[in-house]
Symmetry: C2
C-alpha cells in the first residue's frame, strides 16, 4: 500500500477529471465501474487508472471492480477534506468578478471571505456576499482571519508586490490569474497558475501548425 508517500503532479491533475466522470455516473444511477470503463471515458489506459488509485491505497475489489459511490466519496475526501478553504479575492475587475462568481456559486471546497481592490470606485461595492475593501486593509484582515487561499486577478506588477506579503501572512495557496510567475519565487507554497495568455499562445501555435 503506497498511500500518499508523495503523489506526483500528473496524478493529482487527473483526480478532478475522475471526480467529474464519477459524479456523472452516480447521477446516471450507475453503481459499479471497472478500470477499463473509466479509462475509456478518460481517454487513457486501465493500467493508469489502477496505478493512480493505488497511490492512495486502492479503492477497488479484485474480481469485481470499483463501487462508484465509494470511489466518489474517497476522491471527494482527498480533494476537499471536511472544511472548505477560506479564500480572498484580490482584483475585482471583470475577470475577478467572473472568477469569484464561479468560486462562490459553482465550486465546492471554498468559501469567499473577502475581496480587495485598489480602485476607490470598487471599494464598498458588494460582491457575492462580501464587501470590497481597499487593499490597504489586506494585512490587517489576514492577521485577523487567516485565509488560506488568495485568488489573484491583478496586473503582473501588483502580483509581484503582493505575493511576499501574502506568503508572509500565511497564505498557503494561490489561484493565480496574473501574468506573474509566482511558482518561480515561492517554492514552499502551492500555486495554480491560470495563464490565459500562455493558453491562447499555445492554441495559436497549434492551430497554425495543424496539418
Amino acid at each position: 500500500m503506497p498511500v500518499q508517500g508523495k503523489v506526483s503532479v500528473p496524478v493529482i491533475k487527473r483526480l478532478p477529471k475522475y471526480y467529474r466522470y464519477l459524479s456523472e455516473m452516480k447521477q446516471k444511477g450507475l453503481t459499479k465501474v471497472s478500470s477499463s470503463e473509466l479509462a475509456r471515458m478518460m481517454g487513457t489506459t486501465a493500467s493508469q487508472v489502477r496505478q493512480d488509485f493505488n497511490c492512495f491505497g486502492g479503492f477497488g475489489q479484485q474480481g469485481i471492480g470499483y463501487n462508484v459511490e465509494v470511489l466518489l466519496y474517497e476522491l471527494g475526501h482527498l480533494l476537499f477534506r471536511e472544511e472548505p478553504l477560506d479564500a480572498i479575492l484580490i482584483g475585482t475587475g471583470r475577470l475577478g468578478t467572473a472568477i469569484s462568481s464561479y468560486l462562490t456559486n459553482d465550486a465546492r471546497g471554498y468559501r469567499l471571505v473577502a475581496a480587495f481592490d485598489i480602485r476607490p470606485d470598487q471599494v464598498g461595492r458588494q460582491l457575492f456576499g462580501v464587501c470590497i475593501q481597499h487593499v490597504s486593509n489586506l494585512r490587517a484582515f489576514c492577521q485577523q482571519h487567516h485565509p488560506q487561499v488568495a485568488v489573484l486577478c491583478v496586473p503582473k506588477s501588483s502580483a509581484k508586490d503582493l505575493a511576499p506579503t501574502l506568503v508572509d501572512m500565511g497564505i498557503r495557496g494561490f489561484w493565480n490569474f496574473s501574468h506573474y510567475d509566482l511558482s518561480v519565487a515561492y517554492p514552499n507554497v502551492v500555486v495554480e497558475n491560470v495563464h490565459l495568455g500562455d493558453s491562447l499562445m499555445s492554441l495559436s501555435y497549434q492551430v497554425n501548425h495543424l496539418g
Copy 2:
C-alpha cells in the same frame, strides 16, 4: 536540424513562457542572453532551453549565446504567424465577457469577429466591437466567414451539442472554458482546455496535503 518534425506538447507549452521573459528582457534593453540565464529565469536547465530551441533549428550562435531580438522574433513568428486568427465567442455571460475582453484588448494573434448567445436579452448587445447574435445564426455565420477558433463559455450540455456543428463548420481550434471534455471527442482539432473547476480542485488537494 530537427526543425519541427513533430514538436512535443511540453515544448509547445513552454514557448509562451520564453516569449514572455524575452519580451521583458527586450523592454529592459537587453540584447543578448545565454541558455543558462534563460534557464534560471524559467526555473529549468540550460540543457532544456537549448533542446527546446533546437526543435526549431536553433536560434543561437555558438560561443556567443542568443540575440534577444532575434529569438523574440522567431518565437513570435512560430506562435502567431502573420495573420491573426478569426475567433468567435459563444456564451456572453460574465466569464465570456471577461475572456473576450482579454482576447480583444490584451492578447496578440486573434481577432474577435462574432459573439453568440442563446439568451434573448443578450442578443443585440454590443461586445468589444461586435454585436451579439442569437446562436441560431451560428451555422450561417460560419459558412460565410469561416472563423478558425471558437471560444466556448457555455454550460457543459451546450458545449456537447455545439461541438460537432462547429467542427463540421471548419473550426480548427477551441478555447474551451466549458466543463465538457472536448479533447476526448475530437482528435483532429486543437483544444485548449481551461477547466477552472479542475484547477480549483487540484489547488484544494495540494493545499490540504501541504506539510
